[in-house]
């Protein structure tokens, strides 16, 4: 079972993401950025980035440092809806994919699936 760590400040969103992914069969650890990071081996980190325009790649740096080599999906309420998931923004932030909030379950699961199990 693939494991996923979620960093999300918003309680409702955190709960929702956890529920979606758990239902999809993943092992999920969902934490607030203020909480100490769960020291578990993980296949994927989903992190919410605030003010991505100003923060740039710094928003994901902390996660990259905590989980070296692990793929990251960045989500943000300040991504434009028409953003390409693997376009220049993803490159600038240094993550595998970006998804704009509010995101759909399908979009999230497709992104997760494409990273964890690209063969499917």
């Amino acid at each position: 079972m693939s494991s996923i760590v979620i960093y999300e400040a918003d309680d409702l969103m955190r709960g929702l993401l956890q529920e979606w992914l758990t239902r999809a069969g993943y092992s999920v650890s969902a934490v607030s950025p203020c909480d100490p990071p769960p020291h578990v081996a993980t296949d994927l980190v989903i992190v919410n980035i605030e003010m991505p325009k100003h923060a740039g790649s710094r928003g994901a740096d902390k996660i990259r440092a905590a989980y070296p080599g692990t793929r990251i999906i960045a989500i943000s309420a300040q991504f434009r809806a028409d953003l390409s998931t693997v376009g220049t923004t993803a490159q600038v932030l240094g993550v595998a994919q970006v998804i704009a909030k509010p995101l759909t379950r399908d979009a999230l699961l497709a992104a997760v699936s494409a990273i964890i199990d690209p063969a499917n």
């Binding site: 409702l12 325009k53 809806a81 028409d82 704009a100 759909t104």
Partner: protein, 710 residues
């Protein structure tokens, strides 16, 4: 128009205008006063010169007339004395000595050229100079007849006559001789020496242009200095009728404009006229007048130059102040927009989280409820409302500039062309689209979707402004700025730009509205007809791209938006794919539909490279026909949206009617929430944005294939 509408700049403009007007009026008054003073001086000087000239020539005329009178008095005295002597003593003297005595008498009187004694029969008997023929008969001469017939009492003065004894012209003065009984005994006559008078007149300095004339009372000119042989003995009666003339007249003698003073020669029928040419007499005044005029002109010139310099300086100050105020206004506006953007960005952030929860939990809730139950419908409505809110928040993110979008190399002209194609398709019949797209391959670094939104919003607004028809004019060109330029919204640094001009011939925007058109949620359309976010979005996007907007609008004539976008000098690079392995296909057959043959080829190559089996179509109808014939042949459909025969969403609907399970991916150059909704409604899996990124395509295809398997 923007300047006029500035409530702060307007009073300052008025103040400067008044100040400028006052300076001009003051300057003109000073110049007029100086010119008036100079003119008054010239007029006074002219009057003084006239008076002095009149006085001078009148005095000269009086003096010369008196001198002339003395001359003739001397001659008369000699004649009377000679007459007395001749009547009393001549019989005692031998006749041959009488000529000698006469010569002695005339020798003392310089002004007498000749004295003659004529007997009662008119035979000239004696003369002071004896060179004339003997017994000369002068009985027909006026000076003899007048004395003989007593037509005059005492002295008679003749008209100029040629002396028969000398053969020279002269004026004869005569007195009657009588015997003891008082009977006429002849005349004693003297020829006046006019040369002597002329020498005297010549001795009087009248200056250049001056002349002295001696005339008889009938106007006959007897003598003139300087001499004028053509005028001697001609008559100029108008001269003797003059007194001391007040102003220059045309002199009948020489035809020149002269000051003329005429004085009568006492006890004679003679007049003495002194003339002086006006041009000569007024020369000194004329020179002074020129000096005054030149001085006035110099002062006027200096005055006008001074006023002009002051005017220019004031204009500079005013322009500077206006620019400062405009800059302050722009700064205020920019700060306002930034503050609103920050606020809106914050709200959008929170709202997106809330909407995410609503949509996400709504979906979960919907999964837990049975379809077509009231609960299912309620949740569906909640989610529809949340979708609408999501679209709104995305627009707010657009103008707030806090949202993060793509930053890719965008060839502007292709985006504008595509936008205009869409606009043209929905344009009312009474609106004509005129486009000049000459930007070539000029590009910027940004998001093609956002650029599309800019053009779409401005074109839509322009169309709305022309309810009764008109012309929608679109210009796209390169523009290089060599110096900084301030426009309505923003300041442009020097450099290469892409200028998009969208102008309409509609109703125009009132100045007070122009100030607010970029404010979020400000709309002049009715409630529910406009969100008021269109131009805010345009402003946000253009500002985010580092550009600026210039707006000009005239009521009743139309509005013109100029969008300045900084052009990139970078050469377009193929997008760098994320450093990871892309999902690959396993030989699935993919139908590719695009009316652009090159794009079909490109997509075919990309798909083949990703392990798919592409089949390309350049016609949507042809593609549908092939699908109808073999619906099971294709595992996936990849279609463009904008196509002439059958648009992508229509094709998708037809295909899904034939085979609902086949996944469809839509491609679009501009996207947008409306298209996304429409696509989702007919079961399209994803909407990809053109230009296609290989990674995006690979991911989308993998997701679509994966979902088809589920």
């Amino acid at each position: 128009m923007i300047e006029n509408s500035d409530p702060i700049a307007q009073p300052a403009g008025l103040r400067f205008k008044r100040l400028r007007l006052r300076i001009v009026i003051l300057g003109v008054l000073v110049v007029i006063a100086f010119a008036g003073s100079s003119a008054y001086d010239a007029w006074r000087s002219y009057g003084s010169t006239l008076a002095a000239t009149h006085r001078e020539i009148a005095n000269v005329a009086t003096a010369l007339a008196e001198q002339t009178a003395w001359t003739f008095e001397g001659v008369d005295l000699t004649l009377r004395d000679t007459a007395r002597w001749y009547q009393s003593d001549s019989r005692k003297i031998a006749p041959e000595r009488l000529d000698e005595i006469l010569a002695n008498r005339s020798a003392g009187v310089r002004q007498i050229r000749l004295i003659t004694i004529t007997d009662a029969q008119g035979i000239q008997r004696h003369r002071s100079r004896g060179s004339s023929p003997p017994d000369l008969d002068v009985s027909d001469r006026s000076y003899f007849i007048a004395q003989r017939d007593r037509t005059v009492a005492g002295l008679f003065m003749s008209e100029p006559l040629i002396s028969r004894s000398e053969g020279r012209p002269g004026i004869f003065l005569s007195r009657r001789l009588e015997d003891e009984t008082g009977a006429f005994a002849g005349v004693v006559a003297a020829i006046v020496n006019l040369e002597d008078l002329q020498r005297f007149y010549a001795a009087v300095t009248l200056g250049g242009g001056g002349a002295v004339q001696l005339l008889r009372d009938n106007g006959q000119l007897l003598m003139r200095d300087p001499p004028d042989p053509n005028a001697i003995e001609k008559k100029f009666p108008q001269l003797v009728s003059l007194g001391a003339a007040e102003s220059p007249l045309t002199n009948p003698i020489d035809g020149k404009r002269d000051f003329i003073a005429v004085a009568r020669v006492r006890d004679t029928p003679l007049f003495l006229a002194v003339t002086r040419e006006e041009a000569v007499a007024l020369r000194s005044w004329h020179d002074e007048a020129i000096r005054l005029a030149a001085r006035s002109a110099v002062v006027a010139l200096l005055g006008f130059v001074g006023v002009g310099l002051l005017w220019r300086q004031l204009r500079r100050i005013e322009t500077g102040e206006r620019a400062l105020r405009a800059s302050e206004a722009q700064l205020r506006q920019s700060q306002k927009m930034e503050a609103m953007g920050t606020l809106a960005g914050g709200i959008a952030h929170d709202f997106n989280n809330i909407l995410g929860a609503i949509l996400g939990y709504g979906e979960l809730a919907q999964q837990q409820s049975a379809p077509d139950t009231p609960m299912w419908r309620y949740i569906d409505n909640v989610m529809n409302a949340a979708e609408r809110a999501k679209a709104l928040v995305d627009r707010i993110l657009g103008f707030s500039r806090s949202g993060l979008g793509e930053r890719a190399h965008v060839r502007v002209q292709s985006v504008i062309e595509e936008t205009l194609e869409l606009i043209a398709a929905s344009l009312p019949v009474d609106i004509r689209l005129e486009k000049t797209l000459i930007a070539g391959d000029a590009a910027l670094i940004g998001d093609s979707t956002q650029l599309h939104q800019v053009a779409m919003n401005l074109c839509t607004n322009a169309v709305h402004a022309m309810e009764h028809g008109g012309v929608l004019n679109v210009l796209l060109e390169r523009a290089d700025l060599t110096e900084a330029r301030s426009v309505s919204r923003g300041i442009l640094s020097p450099g290469p730009y892409i200028r998009l001009v969208i102008a309409d011939t509609g109703v125009g925007i009132p100045p007070e509205v122009v100030e607010r058109i970029f404010d979020p949620f400000f709309t002049t359309r009715g409630v529910g007809k406009g969100t008021g976010l269109g131009l805010s979005l345009v402003h946000g996007i253009v500002s985010d791209l580092g550009g600026a907007i210039d707006v000009k609008s005239t009521l009743g004539e139309g509005t013109r938006f100029e969008i300045w976008l900084p052009a990139t000098t970078e050469v377009a690079k193929p997008a760098v794919e994320a450093v990871r392995e892309l999902p690959r296909g396993r030989g699935e057959t993919v139908m590719i539909v695009d009316d652009e043959p090159m794009l079909v080829t490109l997509a075919e190559e990309m798909l083949a490279g990703l392990g798919y089996e592409p089949v390309g179509f350049e016609s949507s109808r042809a593609a549908l026909q092939v699908f109808r014939s073999k619906p099971e042949r294709f595992d996936l459909i990849l279609t463009d949206e904008a196509m002439p025969e059958l648009v992508g969403t229509e094709l998708a609907r037809e295909i899904r009617l034939l085979r609902p399970a086949v996944p469809v991916i839509l491609m679009s150059g501009h996207g947008g929430a409306a298209l996304a909704q429409r696509a989702a409604a007919i079961g399209v899996k994803e909407v990809l944005h053109k230009p296609l990124q290989r990674a995006d395509l690979a991911e989308a295809l993998a997701r679509a294939v994966s979902s088809a398997k589920c």
